[in-house]
């Protein structure tokens, strides 16, 4: 078996530009397999109010947008999608009804998220399928459970969450979408002991850990891949003397598992501010980071060869 080139990214958070560039990078760098490490859905919907014939109004990043032609409206929708939000065109009374009904609002949001993931999966299948390239697409702690279903049903797309797949003849892949508890109590946040239990389960799926790749959304604790701003009880960044105080926010359970199982390679996301790579024993751990809101793709290219990581590099574009 020759060299296998992996392309890894995570934390798309709904960014259309990021995902499309990710697929573009697969072609540009001739990746043999693509892995996505979670947090694929966006954080907000942007209402575009229909104010009259060819009159629309929205606010993006505190800037008032008033498209007045179908082309301008489409461009605004694309811009909103590129930064990870979901544009929804509403009549003013529709908006009022939606705002008054949190359940309806939540349902609409879920539909938007599922819809975009389905679009992405169709695009990925159409792009990668003819080339025989497989995409291993996993959710993260920010993604609702219902997103998993949107990933299914494609020949070249697989969800590695809690499952094992062979990337090539030598290297197997398992994944875990859970994260340790965050201040936001997200959809797939869990306590450390539950995380440890699930990690043991996925590690137990491995046939040859020394040649295995594990995609685990949350990075190992205090590894340099998990450094983020410290927050106070009001979720404000703590800073002293003009410096942001940073702290490790990874999972001790993930670290313990890596140190014990010593897989060949672990891939992480979750902490956008902390891209990099680190060795934990013989394991190479990588966090590709994320700048989805800028429409920038951040990813890692990893060359695997006969049970070793031949080389790797972080890219952005």
């Amino acid at each position: 078996m020759g060299m296998t080139r992996l392309l890894y990214a995570s934390d798309f958070h709904g960014s259309e530009a990021f995902f499309r560039k990710f697929l573009g990078a697969a072609l540009q760098y001739q990746a043999n397999a693509l892995i996505v490490g979670g947090d694929v859905t966006g954080k907000a919907m942007i209402p575009i109010l229909h104010k009259g014939p060819d009159r629309y109004e929205a606010a993006l990043f505190n800037r008032r947008e008033t498209p007045s032609t179908p082309e301008a409206l489409e461009h605004l929708q694309q811009t909103i999608a590129n930064v990870g939000f979901y544009p929804i065109v509403l009549e003013p009374d529709e908006a009022a009804e939606l705002e008054a009904d949190p359940v309806r609002m939540g349902t609409r949001f879920e539909q938007e998220m599922i819809g975009r993931v389905r679009l992405w999966m169709n695009l990925a299948e159409a792009t990668l399928g003819p080339r025989g390239v497989h995409l291993y697409f996993m959710c993260g702690n920010d993604d609702l459970a219902s997103i998993d279903a949107a990933i299914e049903g494609h020949e070249h797309i697989h969800n590695p969450d809690g499952r094992r797949h062979w990337i090539d003849d030598d290297h197997e892949l398992v994944g875990l979408s859970l994260a340790n508890m965050t201040p936001w109590k997200c959809a797939r946040d869990s306590e450390e002991d539950e995380l440890a239990r699930r990690l043991d389960q996925v590690a137990g799926l491995l046939e040859a850990p020394e040649r295995a790749v594990m995609v685990i959304h949350v990075p190992p604790f205090d590894s340099g891949l998990d450094v983020c701003p410290e927050l106070d009880e009001n979720l404000q960044i703590v800073h002293r003397g003009g410096h942001v105080l940073m702290k490790p926010a990874g999972s001790p359970a993930v670290r313990r598992m890596i140190e014990r199982v010593q897989p060949l390679l672990t891939l992480h996301g979750h902490i956008h501010e902390s891209p990099g790579h680190v060795r934990l024993g013989r394991t190479l751990a990588i966090n590709a980071g994320s700048e989805y809101a800028e429409g920038i793709m951040k990813a890692a290219i990893i060359n695997l060869e006969r049970g070793r990581v031949k080389g790797h590099i972080l890219i952005s574009g």
Binding site: M105, G241, I313, L314
Partner: protein, 541 residues
């Protein structure tokens, strides 16, 4: 079901769900504090009175500071935009490498880091050259202790600078390998100490009587010293020229010398949330605050002594002939304050604050150099061990050790040349290396239109049909070009740029290019990855 975050009252802008990452921004105050720290209330606090006054005798210090600050506002805007465009560590290098040319960006960054580390050493050398002698000489004279005066002389000697400077460099190294949280506390203490020192200076200068200054000065510097100062400076060639055009010219040249550092938070842009707002407001605020601090110092000092006298003292400290003739000059605002109010606790407080904040300043240089080295490491341009982080201290010990070693060269350079030498040259070197990221930012809307369209609103601002950053970038480039030209036209402030120094600059750039191409070849052959990939644009499918 998706749990929503309640929209702000009456606002229909964003329907956010409950998810991670919805955190507030670091305040402008925080960014401003860091900017003030990087400008330095100690070293930059001396320059207007000890140096500018003597280079352009008769020019209004306040006028020079004002013109300098105004031009720095343009440069600050450009760098804040760089940080907003690439909100991550070493934003300037990252932008230039992605927009213009990876090898050129790396070579510029490489040169900047090496010379920054040297300047950190030159700044550390101020401790034995200025801060310690001011303290010990004042105390020696007040308390009639010849040994303290002798120590002051030794401290400012070549041996003293190297010995004390080396100890201070080791202290800086020792503090920089501490956990980040501890370093931050040290810097925070320094910020308030620095402010406290200025309050003491204001108190000393503001409460003294103008009529008492001559006698107080003579008591320290010898009978008749005050009255003869202007005549002595004129004897050595000083020509007073209170011309507004000269003042403006001086301001155009002195901006970076006085206010250098306000844009350094751009190097940490990855740690600043909503960088597009915070970086600009923070850097502008730090410029305005330091301008106000220095201007108030000038106002209070000029209450006691005329501008011409300040110029004369400054001139004598820089005139080679006067120095050669053994004329002693102490053109430091800290010394003036100590003279008029020779209170041991106050002088001690100011001296300690000055020494502390000078080490703080070196720490900020160490800090940003290590951040840039990390950015190189991410791009696989340097060996991994350089950015290895100690598991318990969480410090990149090897990177900091390398920076310390280069800083030691800066100390030796300061001891064997002039204490301003490396810093003077640094501005020239820094400006030259800045051309790469500033050109990249200026042309960004045209070279990377897709990224420009997706950039934050601050980056996408327009002035009519032209992107605002292109307009400001051109102004910044013009200012920088002038700075380079001025380095040759005015050797007194340009550090005497000669063929040797140009050779050093070329050597650094060439070694940077060699490192880039060497690393690229190595990674390609042994790992099958091309470093150039990290800089390439990827078209979306």
């Amino acid at each position: 079901m998706t749990e929503m975050v309640a929209p702000a009252g009456g606002e229909r802008k964003l329907y956010a769900r409950k998810s991670s990452g919805l955190i507030r921004t670091i305040g402008v105050f925080g960014a401003m504090v860091f900017g003030v720290h990087c400008i330095s209330l100690s070293s930059s606090g001396l320059i207007p009175y000890s140096w500018i006054a003597g280079v352009w005798p008769g020019s209004s210090i306040i006028g020079v500071l004002t013109v300098a600050a105004i031009f720095c506002l343009f440069h600050a805007y450009t760098y804040a935009t760089i940080g907003a465009t690439m909100p991550r560590s070493a934003a300037d290098y990252t932008l230039a490498s992605r927009v213009l040319s990876p090898p050129l960006a790396f070579a510029a960054s490489w040169t900047l880091v090496i010379f920054s580390a040297m300047v950190a050493g030159a700044l550390i050398a101020w401790i034995p050259t200025v801060a310690l002698p001011t303290l010990t000489r004042s105390m020696g004279i007040v308390f009639s202790s010849p040994s303290l005066v002798s120590f002051a002389d030794w401290s400012a000697s070549r041996t003293g600078i190297i010995a004390i400077g080396t100890v201070c460099a080791l202290i800086t190294f020792g503090t920089m390998i501490l956990p980040t949280r501890t370093i931050v506390r040290i810097l925070q203490v320094g910020f308030f100490l620095g402010l406290g020192a200025w309050v003491v200076l204001y108190f000393q200068l503001g409460t003294a009587s103008a009529s008492a200054f001559p006698a107080a000065w003579d008591r320290f510097m010898g009978a008749g010293s005050y009255a003869g100062r202007i005549a002595l400076a004129e004897q050595y060639g000083m020509q007073v020229n209170p011309n507004v055009a000269v003042m403006t010219l001086a301001g155009l040249i002195m901006g970076f010398w006085v206010f250098y550092g306000y844009y350094i938070p751009t190097f940490f842009a990855g740690e600043v949330k909503q960088a597009e707002n915070t970086l600009l407001a923070g850097s502008w605020a730090s410029l305005i605050v330091t301008w106000a601090i220095f201007v108030l110092g000038a106002l209070l000092l000029q209450r006691l002594v005329p501008l011409e006298w300040i110029a004369a003292e400054s001139y004598l400290s820089q005139s080679p002939d006067a120095i050669g003739a053994g004329v002693g000059a102490m053109p430091y605002i800290t010394f003036y304050a100590a003279v008029v109010s020779p209170s041991f606790p106050l002088v001690l407080l100011v001296a300690v604050a000055w020494i502390y904040t000078l080490i703080n300043l070196a720490q900020t240089y160490f800090f940003y150099c290590s951040r840039i080295i990390f950015a190189w490491s991410f791009d696989r341009l340097i060996p991994e061990f350089v950015s290895w982080v100690h598991p318990r201290l969480h410090s990149p010990i090897w990177a900091i050790l390398i920076i310390t070693a280069i800083a030691e060269i800066g100390i030796i350079d300061a001891a064997t040349g002039s204490v301003m030498g490396a810093q003077l040259n640094f501005v020239f070197f820094a400006v030259v290396t800045m051309f790469v990221p500033v050109i990249a930012m200026t042309l960004f809307p045209y070279l990377k239109p897709d990224l420009f369209q997706n950039a934050s609103a601050m980056v996408r601002r327009r002035l009519g049909p032209v992107p605002l950053i292109t307009v400001v970038g051109v102004i910044t480039l013009s200012y920088m070009t002038w700075m380079v030209v001025a380095s040759f036209l005015y050797p007194a402030v340009g550090g005497g740029i000669n063929s040797t120094k140009l050779g050093v600059l070329a050597g650094l750039v060439i070694t940077g290019l060699l490192v880039f191409y060497g690393a690229r070849t190595y990674r390609l052959r042994t790992e099958g990855v091309d470093i150039a990939w990290t800089f390439q644009s990827v078209p979306p499918v």
